[in-house]
Every structure is written in C-alpha cells, then in structure tokens.
C-alpha cells in the first residue's frame, strides 16, 4: 500500500506545529544548548531546568524549522518534563531507534507514548534529521557539551 502523506502529517503533528508546547525561554534554567541543521537551516535552542533531585523540572525550546522539527521538539518537551534526568539517555535511544528502524517494525507505543506519531518519518529518509535535531540538542544540553548539536 502506498504510504500516505497524512501518515506523516498526522493531526497531532500539525497541531504541535501550529501551537508548540513549552515554547520560549525559561525564566530559570541550568542547562541549555543550540542545535543547527546546516542543510535545511533549522535552528533550535533548548532550555533545561533540573532540580536537586535530578528531575527535569522544566524544559522549553525556541527556534524555527519545518513542521516535523517543531512538532518533534514540542512532543519531546512533553515527554521529558517531570521525568528523571537519568532516564534521558534511554528515551533518546528509544526515539532514535524508532525513526531509523525498518518500516515493518511497529513503534513501541508503551515506551514512546505520543512520540510514536513521528514513526512516519521513516518513510521519508531526507526528513529523519528534522525529527531528531531536537533530541540531539537536548542531549547537548544534558551533557553541557557547549557544542552546537548537528544531525549530520
């Protein structure tokens, strides 16, 4: 069956692009990072506030990009907010696996939750980098790497 555009541009993605959640600069944050995709010009900045108990108290992003990159960043902030920082790497790996796995493999919805709506990018190889830029940027923030995150 032919893959439909509506499988990529699901209503959830369109909504998150139109009204991104956790958009803007945090009043208080203790980690941040830049992300840049030189091929398409997408730019992101993420802010992260981790409390003394190692919980991601708050997270936000700013920037400009295509619908996939904005929606992915918006969904990512929802997925990590209120979770332990120590879980981040596993979330990162699970997401990365989902968008690069074989088409036959169904996304692990239990683990991924709403993030599973981005599984459709696998059908559009040139767009995978749009979905993962925010995750690489957040990883830079978590690691305080002070390097601009890239997906190439």
């Amino acid at each position: 069956m032919m893959f439909d555009l509506r499988d990529l541009y699901l209503q959830v993605i369109v909504d998150h692009n139109k009204a991104p959640r956790n958009f803007g600069k945090l009043a208080h944050f203790n980690h941040e990072a830049d992300g840049y995709n030189p091929l398409c010009g997408d730019k992101l900045h993420v802010y992260l506030d981790v409390n003394d108990n190692g919980i991601i108290e708050d997270v936000s992003f700013e920037g400009e990009g295509c619908a996939i990159s904005v929606a992915s960043a918006s969904l990512m902030t929802e997925a990590v907010k209120g979770t332990p920082l120590s879980d981040f790497q596993q979330k990162f790996d699970t997401f990365q696996h989902m968008v690069t796995s074989d088409l036959e493999e169904l996304p692990d919805e239990e683990q991924l939750g709403k993030l599973a709506v981005l599984a459709g990018v696998r059908e559009f190889p040139s767009r995978i980098k749009c979905a993962v830029l925010c995750w690489h940027t957040l990883k830079s923030a978590v690691e305080d790497s002070h390097q601009v995150a890239k997906t190439e």
Binding site: L5, C40, G41, I68
Partner: protein, 405 residues
C-alpha cells in the same frame, strides 16, 4: 517552431511516474536532465573509444584525443572565445572559481586590495574569495541588492575603486532568477582597472553568452546545468591573463618537461588541466552544446519566458504566497514561501504529487538572510517543462495548504 512533444521525447527520464503520478521535474536550477543524444554519446565513448588522451599513439587514444579536442572547439565557438587556448576544462563552476581565486588571486591580490562580489552570489563565488582574502589580508566587499532581488547599481559604482582588483558577479541568480547587467558592470570595472569573473552556472543554458561581446575576463559554467554530464565544467579566460597565472595543480598533462631540478609547464590550456580529465564528460558536454544549438537561444528564451510568465501569473494570485525575487530582468526561476507551510514540508508534500522542486537555501544563505526567510521553495523551469506541469505544482501547493489548514 518549438515542438515541445519532440523535445520532451528527447529526455527519456521524463517519461516516468513518481508515487503513481507523472513526474513534473521543476528542479532544473539544481541540475538539468540529459537528452538521449548526450547519453548515447557518453555510452558510445565508453563502448568504442575509451582510452587516455594526449598520450597513446594507438587508435583509441587518437580517437579519444580527437573527440576531446573537438568538444573544446565546439565550446570555444559556443561562447565565442578568442581561441581554444582560452577554454580550460574543470570539474565544474566551483572548481573553476577556486582555480581563479587560487592561481590568479594568489599572484595578483595583495594586502589592502579589494575583491568585490554581490549579495546574490552562490556560496561558490563567496567562500573561495573569503579564503583568499583571509590568506593575503585583502578585503571582501559586497554590493547590496534591493527588495526585488536586483543589484543596486549606484552602490556598485560607489564600491568600485582603484583598490578593487576583481569583480565577481553571477550572470543569473540560482536563488532569485535575476539576470544581472554584467555587460555594463564589466565596462565599469574595466574603467577602474579591475578584472571581472562572471559566474555563468545558471545562465549558460538559458541565455546566449558571447564572452568577447561581454568583454568578460573569466566566464565559468558547469555542463550539468546545460543538459550535459555532472563533474565537468569550463573556465573561459582571457589568454593574456591566463598567461600571467601559475598552474593550479601539478601533475601529468600540464607539463612539457620534468626533471627533479625543474619543470617546464605546458602551454594553454593544458597548463591548467593536470591529470586525466573527465574525457567522457567533456565529449558529452560538447554534444549537449550541439543540442542547445539545435534548438537555438531565440526559441529557448521565448519559450522559457512564456512559461515563467504563466507561472508568475499563477503565483501572483495564489493566496498566502510570497515570491522571493521579482527582478525586472529574470529567467526561469520561481522562488517563494507560503505563509502556512515551511518550504521543507512543501518539498515533501509536492514530491508525493510527482513534482520535484528544491526547498532550502539554494547555497545562497546571504540571500535568505536578506529576505529574512530560513529557506524558500523553488520551481525552476527548462525547455521541456509544460504549462500542465506548472498547474500540477499549484494544485500540489493547494494540497499542502489543506494539510496545514
């Protein structure tokens, strides 16, 4: 008489479906498709004539050399070069500009000198000059553009000075479609003692170019944007200037005598063609030139203006569309943004309708910065495109808007 059906028939790649829809190839500014005659010429070369040129005494080498040099002759006459010694084959426009920046620039640009380019240059006519200026302590100056995407000529006049050694200007902008008044710019630059490099990568398939009439010192272009193979291009340079330039690369073919103490360089144009060149590519380039000549620039220009006018009229009445690049003198390029759909989403969506366009910064980031957009969508037309394909593009744009409504 412009026979569109016959022309489309010359390009086998056009006859295919993408996701079940007929292909509408509107990315000609990135690269053009190849007519059967060019494909056959390249194939024939490999099937019958392949050998290294300028070396062997055997029959195949003689044939490869003769065909390679015949292509040079064709290309010299196409651009009205003064002689074949002025025609140097390169890997493309980018390498040609790097050759000039490195070889001519290395000798003639000193600390305190200026190189003058325009705000609408492709990265390949920006970065080599930045690298050179950094190396020798020269200054890169940039001529501004206006809201229509045209060079501001008063500013050009003001920026030209006795410090200007070279003016680098794109003949036709790949991001905007603007055709620049290179003839008058060359005249003005020469009056102040500067020489001029014209980047013809985008122009050469669409406009007749006569390097002597233009009085251009360097004219550079790429075969693959002129229905020829990728990986080959040409630098046409004024012989008197080429003579003052050291070789760009050392190796075989560019020498006349080598000892460990000293090497004597070969004559023009071979001095600048070190190593075995892209022989098949050059021969294919020659065939592509013949193909263009067979149609003729009068017919090409008329047809492409017709198509651009048709597309522009549709763009003007399309809700939420902003054209980027509305120069009075313009060809074949419709660059735009939609207010509700990012160019990359647009590229993906129209692709599913069989329409190939480019979405991005078009290797002209300063142009994007000037118009304050991260990227644009660009449809670029060629001799084989039709009004029906333009219609398909615009109905695909409607679909994209519907998805994001």
């Amino acid at each position: 008489m412009f026979d569109i059906e016959k022309i489309r028939g010359d390009f086998p790649i056009l006859n295919q479906e993408i996701y079940g829809k007929p292909l509408a190839y509107l990315d000609n500014a990135a690269t053009t498709q190849k007519p059967q005659c060019v494909i056959d010429t390249v194939t024939r070369y490999y099937e019958h004539d392949n050998a290294n040129e300028h070396r062997g005494v055997h029959a195949l080498s003689e044939r490869a050399t003769a065909d390679y040099e015949a292509a040079r002759k064709k290309i010299a006459s196409f651009f009205n070069a003064r002689s074949e010694r002025e025609v140097i084959f390169t890997r493309g426009t980018t390498e040609a500009i790097n050759l000039i920046a490195s070889s001519w620039g290395g000798v003639h640009i000193k600390s305190g000198d200026e190189v003058l380019i325009t705000h609408m240059e492709h990265h390949s006519n920006i970065v080599p000059w930045q690298m050179l200026c950094d190396r020798v302590g020269a200054t890169l100056k940039v001529v501004p553009i206006n809201d229509r995407g045209e060079i501001i000529m008063d500013a050009f006049d003001a920026l030209l000075s006795e410090r200007t050694r070279l003016v680098g200007v794109v003949h036709m902008s790949n991001a905007l479609g603007t055709i620049n008044p290179v003839e008058s710019m060359i005249e003005k630059a020469h009056a102040t003692g500067a020489i001029v490099l014209v980047d013809g990568a985008q122009a050469a398939a669409h406009l007749a170019v006569d390097v002597q009439a233009l009085d251009a010192d360097f004219y550079v272009t790429s075969a693959h944007k002129m229905y020829g193979p990728t990986g080959v291009g040409v630098l046409i340079g004024r012989e008197a200037i080429l003579e003052t330039m050291p070789p760009y690369q050392g190796g075989g073919d560019m020498i006349s005598m080598v000892t460990f103490e000293k090497t004597e360089y070969n004559d023009l144009p071979y001095k600048f063609e070190a190593g075995t060149p892209h022989i098949a590519g050059v021969i294919g380039f020659g065939k592509a030139i013949e193909y263009i000549q067979g149609i003729g620039f009068d017919a090409i220009g008329k047809r492409e203006q017709q198509l651009l006018a048709y597309a522009t009229a549709k763009a003007e009445v399309f809700d939420g569309l902003r054209q980027i690049g509305t120069a009075k003198e313009k060809a074949c390029v419709l660059s735009f943004v939609l207010d509700s759909v990012h160019p990359h989403d647009l590229g993906t969506i129209v692709d599913r309708e069989g329409v190939a366009i480019r979405a991005g910064h078009h290797c002209a980031m300063p142009v994007m910065q000037f118009f304050n957009v991260p990227a644009t969508a660009r449809a670029s037309f060629s001799i084989y495109n039709t009004e029906a394909e333009v219609d398909t593009l615009f109905s695909a744009l409607k679909k994209a808007q519907a998805i994001f409504a």
